[in-house]
Subunit: 369 residues, 2 copies
């Protein structure tokens, strides 16, 4: 039932690596609801209105899915159809029935501590047990390093989004609405073969861009303003992300200098991306450059983030992160500045950390066009 | 700072109605995270990667938003800018500081019990209090009845999605991929003026449709198969939803009879939609029709759902729902059947419950085309 692409990702090996980590931490059972965790381990691409529950023990795997999706999951997911169940009114009671005597050996339960819904945790407490550990850090430690097969996939996605960005910059013209440019971006992402978008893409221009205003509006592009487009497509499950700043007319010296600061901060921060460097050092370098330009007060966000089955995942690149970069991590670098009367400027690329430094995955021209 | 459209929805009056209900239930403070609740009450359209927290007391309103969005929210949201704060590391400690002495009068805290994240609830418990009530039913009781201004908006959205569906049925042809048809659907939804999509739209055809498989694939449309397209656009925040079943070739007598069952079940279920009828009675009528066709085993889902700022909201229409329909409710009616060797068939419309019956909001031809 597996196609080649699925096979090369080897979902079962991922589950086995998670089991090793669970054993070390004394976690007997992991109960997972997060869509990206489910996709990483079960390989199921859900409809956006759906959800599923994955139960993992040393010897067992149970996947509960909505009745409506059950047959599709049996056909598409690597997990044995006999381990796929319909989500009942009380999923935890059902799970206890399924595992039978194995239940007695389960002590510590691994949950997604940050994001699990209160009502779901209650259902676990009332039926299975009350000793919990956070299992998300164990899954993150797997997901943060992309395998060669994943790197190859992400490389393809980054190339596709780079091509879309190049077309979008060409398509922008005076009088066009922000909304219409992002509608075109979506269509191009679809045509390139994206599953869907990493997030709702947006264009922000002129008076909208300094806030910053992260949704496209009916505002039309004018001569003499900075236009910023941020978007990403999902490529066989993997999120991509790119930002470019450009114009459709003439810019003032002030605007050009402003863009140069963002361009320079990104260029310098990228130079820091290599194994052994702490994530916060990449951020600090961007801040330093903005300080030189006297613009550090106008840089209100992080410098970058990891991405994979989630658009924002480990490692985060901001002032707090002590984590060291390692080969196989994929991160964005995207320092930006936003100032009233000038606008917003940001350049964002996806970088793969390699043994010796990094590989730039997104390719669109970065200089002001 | 308000435009006409925002004003006509009167967010402040919604907050006041919620306050009345909170007072009756003895809820001193409501803490809200759900995007659709925040949009309903604060009127802020968030980027998909963003989130915010709304705190409501009898006299106060505090809106915490990400640093990056703060200026945009101050410009776009009806709430006084002095009540808008940046989300800090510990939002609940910050809130306690903001309200000062008012804190002493807060006893019972209203939370979104079902969906609140465990970690967020913990943050509330550790800083503010431990007596909770579920506030979602109070908000649902407001959201379930659409005001005349909301009805007018939803009517516009339903008309727009009807037009998109008509174009999509025309555009489908033999040899076209499911994915390419939904890419076209997305583009048309954007061009019609949708903010984005209610959910990832999908087309399912032939061997994919009986599972049912709720994502579009690379499968090409063939002669002699049923094609089902389900989609919705978001119209100024309000979700729309429509499904049609059609073909690009010739169908067998078996397939035509199968479609007729779905068509008939929907037609009969719709006749039930009027004030005073219980939601479950609408579902039961659909089941009855499928029973007459000997197909009730192949109807794996609900008959319909309410929709508004969420694609699935109250009232749900399935076998369990005792709730009575009332004027101002907007629901879908969409019974469907899926059978191996034949395919899937479903017709879905949006209905507004009126004083005397209902108004059909979606207009696309329903008969097999």
């Amino acid at each position: 039932m597996m196609n080649e692409g699925m096979n090369s990702l080897d979902y079962e090996a991922r589950v086995d690596r998670l089991r090793e980590k669970m054993e070390k931490e004394g976690i007997g059972l992991a109960i997972l609801y997060e869509r990206s965790n489910v996709r990483y381990l079960a390989g199921w691409r859900q409809n956006t209105t759906s959800f599923s529950i994955l139960f993992i023990t040393q010897d067992g795997l149970v996947h509960m899915v909505p009745k409506l999706d059950k047959k599709a999951v049996e056909n598409e997911c690597w997990i044995d159809p006999s381990d796929i169940y319909e989500i009942p009114d009380n999923p935890m009671k059902k799970y206890k029935d399924i595992i039978g005597e194995e239940y007695n050996s389960i002590d510590n339960i691994g949950i997604e501590s940050e994001t699990i819904f209160n009502s779901r945790l209650k259902n676990i407490k009332e039926n299975i047990g009350c000793r919990f550990s956070d299992v998300q850090p164990l899954i993150d430690s797997l997901r943060i390093i992309k395998s060669p097969a994943e790197q190859e996939l992400i490389r393809g996605g980054a190339l596709a989004i780079s091509e879309v960005m190049t077309e979008i910059i060409d398509a922008a013209e005076i009088g066009m609405k922000e909304k219409d440019l992002t509608a075109k971006a979506k269509m191009l992402m679809d045509l390139k073969g994206g599953e869907t978008y990493s997030f709702e893409p947006f264009a922000m221009s002129g008076k909208n861009s300094w806030l910053p205003h992260r949704t496209s509006t009916d505002k039309k592009f004018k001569k003499s303003e900075l236009i910023l487009v941020d978007m990403g497509l999902i490529w066989q499950g993997y999120c991509t992300d790119i930002t470019r700043t450009f114009t459709v007319g003439e810019l003032s010296k002030k605007q050009i200098d402003f863009f140069d600061a963002a361009y320079e901060a990104q260029k310098e921060a990228k130079k820091k991306v290599r194994p052994g460097v702490k994530a916060k050092e990449v951020h600090e370098r961007a801040v330093e450059v903005f300080e030189e330009y006297g613009l550090s007060d106008y840089f209100p966000h992080l410098t970058g983030h990891g991405l994979g089955y989630d658009i924002h995942e480990a490692p985060i690149i901001d002032e707090k992160q002590e984590i060291e970069l390692k080969p196989g991590m994929v991160v964005t670098v995207e320092p930006g500045v936003y100032k009233e009367g000038i606008g917003g400027a940001r350049v964002e690329d996806m970088l793969l950390v390699t043994e010796r430094g990094h590989e730039e995955l997104t390719k669109t021209e970065r200089k002001l066009i």
